[in-house]
């Protein structure tokens, strides 16, 4: 349990919360946090623990160093095989007592169940996007009206072609959306069988083919990785896949 703080009226240091882990977790040694020299520690209740760091108040959070620090701490826990329920960046409570009394104790059962579901499982995020040149050649070959608009633009001075440019880009983006429905579904069909759970998002970029988070059991990581590689092989030349992980199960937290 945390030492009770003396609750001074002016809080100079607050408690940054990275996430919640089982009470049995041991932090890796050498775990630099958000701030230079910051000390990452655990605040435990009987079954669970919060991963925290004291941070100075009065300075905004969100610099590159802060974000990297947050990520580094959570990744280190994942790499140590610790089940973790990650907080979204920017979770700050007034002191350690509050972390124990208001975050952990009242929600102990909730977190315990959540962590049980995450034990031995981590997230992999797969994104894929069309390789620009080859897919644009496909689009131009398949759509005469896009060919015509391109030709029209080529005859105009650059400064007069703005609206046509936007229109052309919009048409292409529309075609890519159609293509994505087929290609994206193929990738998902091939990979979903390896996952405990999947969260599929609409790709954020117009050239996106797939954007999905997979919750993968540790013992299936290699099979999953092989299956991803096979998808990449089949799409070679048209689509480039990126596989990120293992990362904390950000996408599988309740309440999204």
């Amino acid at each position: 349990m945390a030492a009770p703080s003396e609750g001074s009226p002016q809080v100079e240091v607050a408690c940054y919360v990275y996430g919640v882990v089982p009470a049995s977790a041991r932090l890796p040694e050498q775990l630099p946090g958000l701030s230079p020299g910051g000390q990452v520690s655990l605040i435990r209740t009987e079954k669970i623990a919060a991963v925290v760091e004291g941070i100075p108040l009065g300075r905004p959070l969100g610099t590159r160093a802060h974000l990297m620090g947050h990520e580094r701490v959570l990744d280190a826990l994942v790499d140590a095989g610790i089940a973790i329920a990650p907080m979204r960046f920017g979770a700050v409570l007034s002191d350690e007592q509050v972390v124990a009394d208001e975050l952990l104790t009242p929600h102990e059962e909730h977190f315990t169940a959540l962590l049980r579901d995450l034990t031995g499982r981590t997230q992999y995020t797969l994104t894929g996007c069309y390789q620009e040149e080859s897919v644009l050649r496909e689009v131009i070959a398949e759509y005469p009206e896009i060919r015509e608009l391109r030709h029209e633009i080529s005859e105009l001075p650059a400064e007069q072609a703005y609206h046509q440019q936007v229109r052309l880009g919009e048409m292409i983006v529309g075609v890519l959306e159609q293509k994505r429905r087929g290609d994206g579904a193929d990738v998902l069909d091939a990979l979903v069988p390896y996952a405990v759970d999947v969260v599929v998002r609409e790709p954020a970029q117009a050239d996106g083919v797939v954007d999905a988070a997979f919750l993968i059991a540790d013992e299936r990581r290699e099979e999953f990785d092989e299956a991803v590689e096979e998808c990449g092989r089949q799409l070679a030349g048209r689509v480039r896949l990126r596989l990120l992980g293992p990362v904390p199960a950000y996408d599988f937290m309740p309440g999204q």
């Binding site: 809080v11 607050a14 108040l57 959070l61 969100g62 974000l67 990297m68 947050h70 990520e71 580094r72 095989g81 990650p86 979204r88 960046f89 920017g90 700050v92 409570l93 007034s94 509050v98 208001e102 975050l103 009242p106 929600h107 995020t125 620009e132 040149e133 644009l136 050649r137 689009v139 131009i140 633009i153 080529s154 650059a158 400064e159 703005y162 440019q165 936007v166 052309l168 880009g169 292409i172 983006v173 954020a204 970029q205 050239d207 540790d218 290699e222 590689e229 998808c231 990449g232 896949l241 990126r242 596989l243 990120l244 990362v247 904390p248 950000y250 996408d251 309740p254 309440g255 999204q256």
Partner: protein, 133 residues
């Protein structure tokens, strides 16, 4: 713990996790929201995050495609200069943590492109939540 099977000529990029744009997005947009659990003793601390990245991305993408298509050497035609609009939005977006700037940018995107996506709502909501302290 990482799967580190060395591959001959891999068909999938397996980037090092650290400092990637997509990890940053996970950190900012996903994970448990502490407000759900603790209501009384939250500490208001200013968060600087770049919500405009989403707006910037969509306009930027349309123009990037238009340009790239024109650049293809199928018809031997030279490139076209990048119009001013996207530069303007990018500049204000990069600094813009006020929702006024964001809303204006969203309206601009809608006017010009008539697009709608669910991230837009999310981005519009978020600054308001974070302003609470």
């Amino acid at each position: 713990m990482t799967v580190a099977t060395p591959r001959q000529d891999p068909h999938v990029d397996r980037p090092n996790r650290s400092g990637l744009a997509e990890v940053i997005e996970l950190i900012l947009d996903k994970g448990l929201v502490i407000d759900v659990f603790v209501r009384v003793s939250l500490v208001g601390i200013e968060l600087i995050t770049i919500d405009a990245r989403i707006v910037v991305a969509s306009v930027d993408t349309y123009l990037r495609f238009a340009e790239a298509t024109n650049r293809l050497d199928l018809y031997e035609k030279g490139g076209v200069g990048l119009p001013g609009l996207v530069e303007g939005i990018t500049e204000s977006g990069a600094r813009g943590k006020t929702s006024g700037v964001l809303d204006a940018a969203f309206e601009k995107v809608e006017q010009v492109f008539g697009t709608e996506n669910d991230r837009r709502e999310e981005a519009r909501r978020r600054p308001q939540r974070r302003e609470r302290s």
